[in-house]
């Protein structure tokens, strides 16, 4: 990709008087030597596969380790009873994020966005937004370009793998991508997109990658929920006119420096944090014996 900062993307939108998503579409066309239709079709395929993965959730499944499964259905059932405190939108986002995280852990087909471990964040907010506000698929696809552009810059300036930057690099990045996409869907321009992404990433700075037994299960599935909910509230703040005092590119750089200084025990090694708790080590021991 030709962009090393979100500011460069914004500069190009002004220079060429094109929306944020279109600048990224054109960048993809030149990067992969692809026709406009081919790129759009491919992104639409990603969106349709997200929908399919959401619809294919199987409430009976548990992961091979037995650590996760069925909580998405539990949440959905709770929503049906109308006793939830967080409102219908956030309630549905929560259920969807759990379902996708569980599907991934149970070896179902998902769309990595940006990683498999964080695959629930973007679909949870995008599909719920479309259900609620009836946007067209083509609008949703544009929002995916916005999200992808934010993710590309994060990958370029910092990292998107838990093993290199902790969970902030996975769930944090997914959340920033989703927040920017949501701001676009809600009618935000470049400024709101960047503030939404910046606030979402800021809120998850420092989040460690501490999976129990080294598996993409505990706490990964539920962290998809916080990434998704944080994206919604960050986008809402940005649309309210609230600004991130630290510019988005600088937040990304901060995420990088936090990730570099994070001890390796907290970067997907399964040695620290929740993985090192008595319950975490017990689960790991049990799996080793099995």
């Amino acid at each position: 990709m030709g962009f090393h900062s979100l500011e460069e993307i914004v500069a190009k939108t002004k220079e060429e008087n094109k929306p944020f998503w279109e600048v990224l579409l054109e960048d993809d066309m030149s990067d992969r030597m692809a026709a406009r239709e081919e790129s759009l079709e491919k992104m639409n395929h990603m969106y349709q596969m997200m929908k399919k993965a959401d619809g294919d959730y199987d409430p009976r499944l548990t992961s091979a380790s037995g650590l996760v499964g069925q909580d998405g259905e539990r949440m959905q059932e709770y929503l049906r009873n109308k006793r939830h405190m967080s409102g219908d939108f956030i309630g549905q986002v929560t259920a969807r994020a759990l379902k996708m995280g569980e599907s991934n852990a149970c070896m179902k087909r998902i769309v990595a966005a940006p990683t498999a471990g964080s695959c629930g964040v973007i679909p949870a907010v995008f599909l719920t937004y479309q259900d609620t506000y009836h946007s067209s698929d083509s609008e949703m696809v544009k929002a995916l370009y916005v999200a992808a552009g934010i993710g590309m810059v994060i990958a370029e300036r910092a990292f998107i793998a838990g093993a290199t930057g902790g969970c902030q690099a996975e769930i944090g990045s997914a959340s920033a991508m989703a927040a920017g996409g949501l701001a676009f869907l809600a009618g935000g321009k470049e400024e709101e997109i960047l503030h939404a992404a910046a606030m979402a990433l800021k809120n998850l700075l420092g989040l460690v990658c501490d999976p129990v037994a080294g598996l993409v299960e505990v706490p990964c599935v539920k962290r998809n929920v916080i990434g998704a909910v944080n994206a919604v509230t960050s986008a809402d703040m940005a649309m309210a006119g609230i600004k991130s005092k630290i510019p988005a590119d600088q937040v990304i750089d901060a995420m990088r420096s936090v990730g570099i200084t994070m001890p390796s025990a907290l970067k997907e090694t399964g040695e620290g944090g929740l993985a090192a708790t008595p319950a975490g080590t017990k689960a790991a021991e049990k799996l080793k014996k099995a």
Binding site: D28, N104, M107, P114, T115, Y145, A163, G214, L215
Partner: protein
């Protein structure tokens, strides 16, 4: 890296390194063997050994060996599929020394008796690297159409091979040469910008001094 490495790939979970990358390693090995796998010894190292079972690395590798891609929904039941197809699979825990933590050594025998020994690593995000092929060093990721030539270590062979590619108007993106010792057998790995036609591969295999030719086509991968 492009936009669809960020939104995508479509894959069977749970892990891009331990599942998708493992499928890719098995798949590339199957293509390099050039015939269906009859027997596979799968030797898991490091993190592949430690957390592989929970991530489905075992099933992912076998799925790849059966010719499945990273988004194939049959990956979780690949061990059963292998049994059905009469593919014999054994898993071993090994210590491969100073290699990437997500590494595996595959010892394969094909249905027509062809053999292949390969060490590969999953680098993250589904990307892989073949590090060793039939006992000789290698370094390629299967992102380009890749020609692997096993030849006698003597002057002029590189010239023959590159001339044959030039004749087909195929540009070489990267090229590596390895040998075990002077005058013995050597390996040439050529990553190309275009696909090599079947006939050209046949002609290459017949050239003097060339012992064996393997080819990794990306076209086959898309079908």
């Amino acid at each position: 890296m492009n936009l669809f490495d960020i939104i995508g790939p479509v894959m069977v979970g749970p892990s891009s390194s331990h599942t998708a990358g493992a499928v890719r390693i098995g798949y590339v090995a199957r293509l390099l063997l050039g015939e269906p796998v009859k027997k596979a010894d799968i030797c898991l190292h490091g993190s592949f050994q430690a957390t592989g079972r929970g991530h489905g690395t075992d099933r992912a590798l076998v799925a790849g060996l059966l010719g499945m891609q990273t988004d194939d929904e049959r990956i979780p039941v690949s061990l059963e599929a292998a049994e059905k197809e009469g593919m014999e699979v054994d898993f071993w825990a090994v210590e491969l020394g100073d290699v990437h933590p997500n590494s595996v050594k595959l010892l394969l025998t094909g249905t027509h008796g062809k053999r292949l020994e390969l060490v590969a690593a999953s680098l993250g995000g589904g990307r892989i690297r073949v590090c060793e092929l039939n006992g000789l060093t290698a370094n390629f990721g299967g992102e380009y159409p890749t020609l692997i030539v096993n030849n006698q270590d003597k002057p002029g062979i590189v010239n023959e091979v590159t001339a044959a590619l030039a004749q087909e108007d195929i540009n070489i993106a990267a090229m590596q040469l390895y040998r075990s010792k002077r005058g013995s057998s050597a390996v040439m790995i050529l990553e190309c910008d275009g696909e090599i036609p079947k006939e050209a591969l046949g002609r290459l295999g017949g050239l003097p001094g060339i012992l064996d030719v393997a080819y990794l086509s990306l076209k086959e991968a898309e079908e």
